[in-house]
Symmetry: C2
Subunit: 184 residues, 2 copies
């Protein structure tokens, strides 16, 4: 098996502010043709901002597709081909008003690789310096402070469901445990 | 703040095999109107299948939106309002030919709550009994066996990027550590 699909046709059906929808035809490795729906998304970045005493920050906002408030780590979309590190620093400043002395890359996530091009980059921010928040116009957020151990317990209890939030909290915690192990 | 958005208009732009695209108008809490692009997706399930000696299973497949092979835990879409537990058992049987004696729910993930209704359910499968695999027609997979510790190291090294795979491996590992702690 070569695990490859070749694009035979590609048609853009919709260009929105957030997503672009394409319907392609792909030739599979057995020669058969298959329809491929592709949602193009610019990708994004999320940040676990951690203070020395263990305090972290989450934001609650109404998530229209689910019709409910979802609690997530601070995050935002990339503006086109923007550098994700700069985008992360901007979001952190906009949403919780913090500038970090340390900004550690924790890897990326492919959120729905079956149909969507969205790629999300995760960061751990430390040595935080606070200034005013600069929320986007028409962005309504409630900022919450919680310590990392509590966030971890809430992930394990299923109280936090946002995928980037779950993955970033668990991965950051492993990163911090390894770092502490190396220091001792 | 009440963190609520009210639907004022809703228009379905596309109904595909995988996704449905809507463009809605929502009234925000300050009274302003905003466009909301919504990708409807039936949701899915992913499974970490674990043998007593630590062996786990992943699948490699070509993911058309990224134009590359992605390694993921066995997973699949729900067929409409299907029970996610039954869907998980079916996918496990189709993709790796296993029937589990134990099938433990690990919670769900909202993959892209800003624009997409996809909700993914995670399971840990143990006490595995193997029969023939039943892959979907036109589904090309390569099945890989790895032990859980190696999967964890590959998550930490950024070699596994699929969001459900990262979240499910890290959460299952925490679940197993707690279970082992309770036993001793």
């Amino acid at each position: 098996m070569k695990l490859f699909e070749e694009t035979v046709e590609s048609k853009t059906l919709f260009r929105g502010k957030i997503v672009t929808l394409r319907q392609d035809v792909a030739r599979l490795e057995n020669g058969a043709l298959a329809s491929r729906e592709v949602v193009e998304h610019p990708g994004g970045v999320c940040i676990l901002a951690l203070e020395e005493d263990g305090t972290t920050y989450t934001v609650k906002q109404f998530r229209y597709p689910f019709g409910k408030v979802v609690e997530e780590l601070p995050a935002g979309k990339l503006d086109g081909p923007e550098d994700h590190r700069l985008a992360g620093l901007r979001e952190l400043s906009e949403e919780i008003g913090a500038t970090p002395g340390e900004f550690i890359y924790l890897g990326c996530l492919l959120l729905s690789p079956g149909f969507c091009t969205e790629r999300l980059h995760m960061y751990l921010a430390r040595d935080l310096h606070f200034g005013p928040v600069h929320p986007d116009e028409d962005e309504f957020l409630e900022i919450c402070c919680t310590d990392l151990d509590t966030l971890y317990e809430r992930v394990m209890a299923g109280e936090l469901e946002d995928a980037k939030t779950v993955a970033c909290i668990l991965k950051a915690r492993e990163y911090l445990k390894r770092e502490a192990g190396e220091r001792t």
